[in-house]
């Protein structure tokens, strides 16, 4: 089942064309990373998905049907440009946004208090937001987004401004959502978190969708035929390979002419190489990101 589907979506602001016929499916129950450099069109795409702005052309379907306002109550949105009412007590803010998402006042208040517990801020319920640190405000904002257990959560840069402990807490919340079968769209520039959290990735560049697929499949697709070997002594030169880099006991070996990794390893061992470990090269999301952007440029 597709949670959110964009079909040929186009959008311009003035003379600037922000999105060019973007078609993208966000599958339900998974964590999808929405990547792209600054100004690529991610936020515009998200805003269209949230029905905040309308596309010039194309269509959007939410949980299989055209977007209706009632459905938006099942979506939680943490925008990149975020903020809350700074001079209002935290619990009042949570209650207000809970009510706006369709909860009763009492339920919204109860869930607000629960979520403050979950993000480790039970003591700030009656404090005003301007009395909290940036990291604490960030967690309150996350509580606002997730307190209704939305079927789809769109989190734009949820880790910005957080220390490692709180990054871990947020990661835990996202993983818990996946375990509960809820859908999350994660827009971030922290590629290491994408590798850990995402099942799928999509990348937008200059308003075009330039990458879309299963995370492992994408990493595989962008991986080069290389082996990373650790061993003792110098590696013997063998046919069908080329040493790309050596650092300490680690050597990166390029496999030429479609030489299978197992065959290359066998040849090395037969040639007297003392290999302690071998790993096939897997492209990191950071490498993929940079490569895609450079190729697109």
């Amino acid at each position: 089942m597709v949670a959110l589907a964009f079909d040929g979506v186009e959008k311009s602001f003035g003379e600037t064309r922000c999105l060019h016929a973007v078609s993208l499916d966000i599958p339900e129950g998974l964590v999808t990373g929405l990547l792209g450099p600054n100004g690529a069109g991610k936020t515009t795409l998200i805003r269209i998905g949230m029905d905040i702005i309308r596309p010039d052309a194309g269509s959007v379907r939410l949980f299989g049907s055209a977007i209706a306002r009632e459905q938006l109550d099942r979506i939680g949105y943490l925008p990149e440009e975020r903020g809350l009412y700074r001079k209002v007590p935290v619990i009042e803010v949570l209650t207000y946004f809970g009510e706006l998402k369709g909860l009763t006042r009492a339920d919204a208040r109860r869930r607000g208090l629960d979520w403050l517990e979950r993000v480790g801020l039970p003591a700030v319920a009656k404090q005003r937001l301007d009395a909290l640190s940036k990291g604490m405000s960030q967690k309150v904002q996350l509580a606002v987004t997730l307190m209704t257990e939305p079927r789809l959560a769109i989190l734009d840069e949820p880790f910005s401004g957080l220390d490692p402990v709180n990054i871990d807490l947020v990661k835990g919340l996202i993983q818990a959502r996946r375990e509960a079968g809820l859908t999350t769209v994660l827009s971030t520039h922290m590629m290491d978190q994408v590798e850990i959290l995402c099942d799928r990735v999509a990348m937008v560049h200059d308003g075009h969708l330039v990458l879309d697929g299963d995370l492992e499949e994408v990493r595989q697709r962008y991986s080069v035929p290389e082996l990373v070997l650790r061993g003792d002594g110098e590696l013997p030169a063998i046919e069908g390979t080329r040493v790309v880099a050596t650092k300490g006991d680690k050597t990166t070996l390029e496999l030429l002419d479609g030489l299978p990794p197992a065959e290359a390893l066998s040849r090395l061992v037969n040639a007297g190489a003392r290999v302690r470990s071998v790993d096939p090269h897997r492209a990191s999301m950071e490498e993929i990101f940079l490569r895609v952007v450079r190729e697109a440029a």
Partner: protein, 445 residues
């Protein structure tokens, strides 16, 4: 389709936010008290000043070339023959000689020539001097010598001239016509005004002038209060939308509620706060007027019940109409000052009846009154003033027509406002061009 629960949530949140602000509490409860205290103090200071000026003895010069006020006729006396108070005044001014005509607190000092009188004026010995020329009887001209650079509005000068006029009338007629004729010429008529109701009932009042003043002041005050509450509530609307932008909550709000729901909720929440403020102010004004009436029991103050009854309706409609326009245009601004600049036009249009207040008070049911009652910007204030001054002259159909026009205009302005509001909220950063606003507004369902 607007969802009531969301509108209620927005309205409750905005209402609570505003009424918990110190600025609202102070302006609602403190402002009327401050206003009454300040205006009372000012009136008291000026009243005492004027009373002091009027009650004190003033000295003016007189030069008589016409022979109407001869020195030998027993009119003028030396200082020694004047009252003790007059003598004290003359001592203070260093006037120990000369001849004086005492006219109940006014002393006319006789000068032989215009030059002598001019010197006395220049030295500020006398407040002013009047010269009756030789051809006074033929031409009626009297020359007033006033010190250059003296007060622009002289209370003393304004009191002396009527007295001098009466003195001249008396001197001109004395001995030629009977005394009662002299008296009637001096004071030809005292008008006793009575009002006649629609049922031809004559209603006499001992203090008609003061009563009229109070009856005019009450509608004026009510109108001003309505306008102030209306504009201050609208200002809160602009402020709240600027706050939403500055606090960057706009996107979260729009992901949770429709712009129509947000706009309606904000209008209702802040409108309720404005209505509460207006109710407090109106109660204070009416209570103040009733208390003043009981103190000054000779006035019969007519409480404008009709105006008070319709005031909430016209406040709500006027506020929704102007508020939605203000909210829409204010949301296009990128900062508080810019938003306020963009909304000032609406405020000026709603102030229009205030500029024509004299016309409305004089002829509440005249052409201007009828026309302004049908223009949505001016209708609330105009109707309240008309219902205060002459409720019998405002027919039921006119109230119905005025409110219908207001309701229709409000519906249109909310529809238009919601579109602009949505565009304004999202097109942050630099102010969008009119073309871009219209293009984006067209994309909204």
């Amino acid at each position: 389709m607007i969802r009531g629960a969301k509108v209620r949530a927005v309205a409750r949140f905005e209402f609570r936010n505003v009424v918990h602000r110190w600025s609202w509490v102070i302006s609602t409860f403190g402002l009327p008290i401050f206003f009454v205290a300040l205006s009372g103090t000012m009136v008291s200071i000026q009243g005492n000043f004027l009373e002091d000026r009027v009650s004190g003895v003033s000295v003016f010069g007189i030069v008589d070339h016409a022979g109407l006020l001869p020195a030998h006729a027993g009119l003028f006396r030396p200082p020694a023959e004047l009252s003790p108070e007059s003598r004290r005044t003359l001592d203070t001014l260093g006037l120990v000689d000369g001849l004086y005509l005492d006219l109940d607190g006014l002393l006319l000092r006789r000068y032989a020539t215009e030059r002598d009188a001019a010197r006395a004026v220049a030295r500020d010995v006398v407040s002013a001097a009047y010269v009756l020329p030789g051809d006074y009887l033929a031409r009626g001209h009297v020359k007033a010598l006033i010190r250059h650079g003296g007060p622009v509005l002289s209370v003393r000068a304004s009191t002396v001239e009527p007295v001098l006029r009466q003195l001249l009338v008396q001197r001109l007629l004395s001995g030629r016509v009977p005394p009662e004729i002299v008296n009637r010429v001096r004071d030809p008529m005292t008008v006793d005004r009575v009002s006649v109701t629609a049922d031809a009932v004559i209603h006499a009042s001992k203090n008609r002038m003061m009563e009229q003043l109070v009856r005019a002041a009450l509608p004026f005050l009510l109108g001003v209060l309505l306008l102030t509450a209306l504009l201050s509530s609208s200002a809160y609307l602009v402020q709240t939308i600027v706050n939403d932008k500055e606090n960057k909550v706009v996107e979260v709000l729009l992901s949770s509620a429709d712009p129509d729901e947000l706009l309606t909720g904000k209008l209702l929440g802040l409108g309720a706060a404005g209505l509460l403020q207006f109710a407090v102010w109106s109660t204070m004004v009416v209570l103040g007027a009733l208390m003043a009436a009981s103190v000054l029991s000779r006035f019969s103050i007519a409480v404008p019940w009709e105006a008070l009854a319709y005031a909430p309706l016209f406040f709500v409609l006027g506020y929704l109409f102007i508020g939605s326009l203000m909210l829409a245009t204010g949301s296009l601004g990128t900062s508080a000052p810019e938003a306020q600049k963009m909304t000032i036009g609406w405020a000026m249009l709603s102030v229009l009846p205030l500029m024509l207040m004299i016309v409305l008070l004089e002829e509440p049911n005249g052409s201007w009154g009828h026309v302004l009652s049908l223009i949505p910007f001016s209708a609330p204030l105009t109707m309240i003033v008309r219902l205060s001054v002459d409720p019998a002259g405002v027919s039921g159909w006119e109230i119905a027509l005025s409110t219908s026009i207001l309701i229709a205009s409000t519906w249109l302005s909310i529809r238009l406002g919601a579109r602009l509001f949505r565009v304004g909220l999202l097109l942050g950063g630099s102010r969008p061009s009119m073309r871009e606003i219209l293009r984006q507004a067209r994309l909204i369902r």
